[in-house]
Amino acid sequence: MGGDSAIDRLELPATGELAALGNLKTVLLDRLAAGQAVHLDARHVHEPSTALVQLVESAAAAFAARELAFGLV
């Protein structure tokens, strides 16, 4: 981890439970503070929930504002 070439890959919670999303938000803020780019792994998400969608949207805006790589895989 760390360094420009390493993009952290975070798995999105499949069930979209609110508690899991709260944890994900904390991790995203950590990465943001560390200047770490992230890719969110959505392979296990079959039916995105509203809560997940708005977290991803908000995260995308935050990472874009810091010009850090952000994406979904």
């Binding site: 609110l18 509203t50 809560a51 708005q54 977290l55 949207e57 805006a61 935050a62």
Partner: protein
């Protein structure tokens, strides 16, 4: 969070149980030729509500099936499909599968795929949603359930356009309801286009994942009635702001119902107008909905809370009796106001107890409504023809009893069909209607509910029962048993007369379990059978499991309680009315019959109990389904409501005793188990002379 969603689902499944029972009841009403409009509308509403909830929780199979069902109901209520026997069969089938799908969603027990496919396809076809041949039907050999149903192709209803603004409140996500599900439900009504407003979405640091910050504007074009849109909005009206605007341009001079321009159709529409209001006449105008009955406001309460209330009221109910005893030495004239206040308090507490009992009461319809489907299944599996007549299903009884009644009643019905009702050929040969009659009835009798299941079949085959009992060593060869004693063998654990174990009954594990289950609820089971004419099972159950009206009797220094509902009469016998038999039994000549006397003092070895019946009191009781017996006690103290406590839980099971209680004066007393005492008497040898003196 997840727990909250689980709670909501649990409530939904509870509602489904009631809705499915209501749906089945409506189909029964339709089959019986009852008021069609009411039953069709009630059925439509039940299926519609299930569909709405299933959609909200993402239970797709249930939602899809309910949608097909509802579409067919819509044609029926608009008079565009004919309600004939085939349609009623399809409705029954639909309700059966609906119940299975609810069970599938709740417990994961998958509904039989063939059954689902066949019913789903048939409903879709009948609703005009599937126009081709039923090529997806898995069993081409199976009869087409829609054969014979006449229906017109659904006319293209006018499309209406709505703009719906959905603004979730702060609790919506935390309550486990996802706005996207709501949008999916709207999508099921027609075509939608959705705009998301994310302008309120905060920065990541400030984002609370449990709060919805998005808003949606949905353009919906649908031919579904406005009610459907309102229903979806109504499901979340306490969690979100939903504004619905009808953007459909007003129709120029057109009649409101351009569908089938015939007089009959117009009449049919008029007849069902109350059930199917047309779309809103103008944008935004409220549509008066005359279809729905004003719902009774309800509150769901956890059962343990109700139990606590019941227990507290139960404890309270003995207070007036206690105070009355304490005050018995006072001068009634001097203390008139005190005695009046005692009377009033006693009455208020009885009213409170009745109210507490009624809170827990449920109509037996909840369980009775399942038996129509059971009997139809049994008809198919046995090849016999059976008509089920149900009455008194509105009778209410404690919820716990209702829940536990399903299994024993199911077994009794299976038993009646398997062993009682004969095949059509045999019935014809016996000069009977080829269609067997099964009657299930219920009525409240005082503080009890009596449920009877009777068939007009062959009756208990007593020679066969006796032979089997001898073969199994339950009865010694050559024993001379009365009819009642032979019938009673059916309740002996493990007894079965089935030549081969059938899928219907005959596993030999049922009748004793039936008696045990009913006894656990403080009830009794009886059986009366007449050869060639049929069998009647009688279940006698207390309205409430906690409170019992009892006669307090004295035997020696001990108190024994007799449920007042079973008491026929009490008397002090003259010596001339007693017939002593073989030095052991004494019989009472009573109204032309000879009754056996059971001395409680002798039965329970009570020290100091009177031996001589002429100095004591005989209480004549009728255990449910059993013979009259005369219980010998020393004296009667009086009638008293008592709170039943389990003896088994606190001590151990005692034969002849069903429970214990604390009397108003603080003394403990035992409650008699009359069916068990009746069975004790039935097993004792009885001299021939005493069997029937009438």
């Amino acid at each position: 969070m997840a727990t909250e969603e689980e709670d909501l689902q649990r409530i939904f499944f509870l509602e489904c149980e009631e809705l499915v029972a209501s749906a089945e009841q409506s189909v029964e009403t339709l089959r019986a030729g009852g008021t069609q409009d009411d039953a069709i509308n009630a059925l439509f509403r039940a299926v519609h509500s299930i569909k709405g909830g299933a959609g909200a929780f993402g239970l797709d199979r249930l939602a899809k099936f309910a949608h097909a069902f509802e579409s067919f109901m819509d044609l029926l209520r608009k008079g565009r499909a004919t309600l004939d026997a085939a349609a009623i069969d399809l409705l029954f089938d639909g309700v059966d599968v609906l119940r299975m799908l609810v069970d599938e969603a709740q417990n994961g027990t998958q509904a039989p795929p063939q059954r689902y496919d066949a019913a789903f396809s048939a409903l879709r076809k009948a609703a005009g949603l599937e126009t081709g041949p039923a090529d997806s039907a898995p069993e081409p050999a199976a009869p087409d359930p829609t054969a014979g149903i006449e229906f017109e192709a659904p006319a293209a209803a006018a499309l209406r356009q709505y703009r719906i603004v959905l603004a979730p409140g702060p609790r919506m996500l935390a309550a486990g309801v996802d706005p996207l599900r709501v949008i999916a439900n709207l999508k099921a009504l027609g075509s939608v286009s959705v705009e998301i407003d994310a302008s309120d979405l905060p920065a990541l640091e400030a984002l609370d994942p449990a709060v919805c910050h998005l808003r949606w504007t949905i353009a919906l074009e649908t031919s579904a009635p406005r009610d459907d849109v309102d229903e979806i909005a109504g499901m979340i009206d306490d969690l979100a702001d939903v504004a619905i605007e009808d953007l459909t341009p007003p129709e120029p001079e057109a009649p409101p119902e351009p569908v089938v321009p015939t007089a009959e159709a117009a009449t049919a529409e008029a007849a069902t107008a109350a059930a199917a209001p047309v779309a809103a006449p103008a944008a935004g105008a409220p549509v008066p909905d005359t279809r729905r009955e004003k719902p009774v406001a309800t509150v769901r309460v956890d059962v343990p809370k109700l139990e606590r209330l019941g227990n507290m009221v139960g404890e309270l109910i003995i207070t007036p009796a206690f105070l009355a005893r304490q005050a018995s030495d006072l001068d009634t004239e001097k203390h008139r106001r005190l005695f009046r206040a005692l009377d009033e308090m006693s009455q208020h507490i009885r009213d409170l107890a009745d109210a507490a009992t009624s809170i827990r009461a449920q109509p037996l319809k909840v369980v009775f409504s399942r038996f129509g489907a059971l009997v139809r299944d049994l008809e198919k599996s046995t090849g016999k023809r059976i008509r089920l007549e149900v009455s008194g299903e509105g009778t209410e009884i404690d919820k716990t009893v209702v829940e536990r009644l399903s299994e024993p009643l199911t077994h009794l019905i299976r038993n009646s069909v398997d062993h009682g009702i004969e095949s059509a050929e045999k019935r014809l040969a016996a000069g009977k209607d080829p269609v067997g009659l099964l009657k299930l009835s219920a009525e409240q009798r005082g503080t009890h509910v009596a449920i009877e299941l009777s068939d007009d079949g062959a009756g208990v085959n007593r020679p066969r029962v006796l032979a089997k009992a001898i073969e199994r060593g339950l009865v010694s060869p050559g024993a001379n048993l009365s009819d009642q004693e032979i019938d009673d063998l059916l309740f002996v654990p493990g007894f079965s007369t089935a030549e081969a174990v059938t899928s219907v009954s005959g596993r030999g594990v049922g009748m004793d379990a039936v008696r045990a289950t009913i006894a656990e609820m403080g009830g009794q089971v009886g059986l009366v059978s007449r050869t060639g004419l049929g069998t009647t099972f009688s279940l006698h159950l207390p309205l409430s499991l906690a409170i019992l009206d009892a006669m307090v009797t004295l035997v020696g220094l001990h108190s024994y309680l007799i449920p007042t509902s079973a008491i026929i009469e009490s008397l002090r016998p003259a010596a001339s009315a007693l017939v002593r038999m073989d030095g052991q039994n004494t019989l009472l000549a009573w109204r032309g019959s000879m009754l056996r006397i059971l001395s409680l003092g002798a039965e329970f070895s009570v020290p100091g109990a009177m031996d001589d019946p002429t100095r004591g009191i005989l209480v004549i009781v009728k255990p449910a389904g059993g013979e009259l017996i005369a219980l010998q006690v020393d004296d009667l103290i009086g009638q008293e409501p008592v709170v039943v406590k389990s003896l088994e839980r606190n001590y151990r099971k005692v034969r002849g005793i069903s429970g214990a209680t604390i009397l108003g004066d603080g003394r403990p007393a035992l409650i008699l188990d009359l069916p068990a005492l009746g069975a004790v008497m039935a097993r004792r040898p009885r001299a021939e002379a005493g069997t029937n003196a009438g």
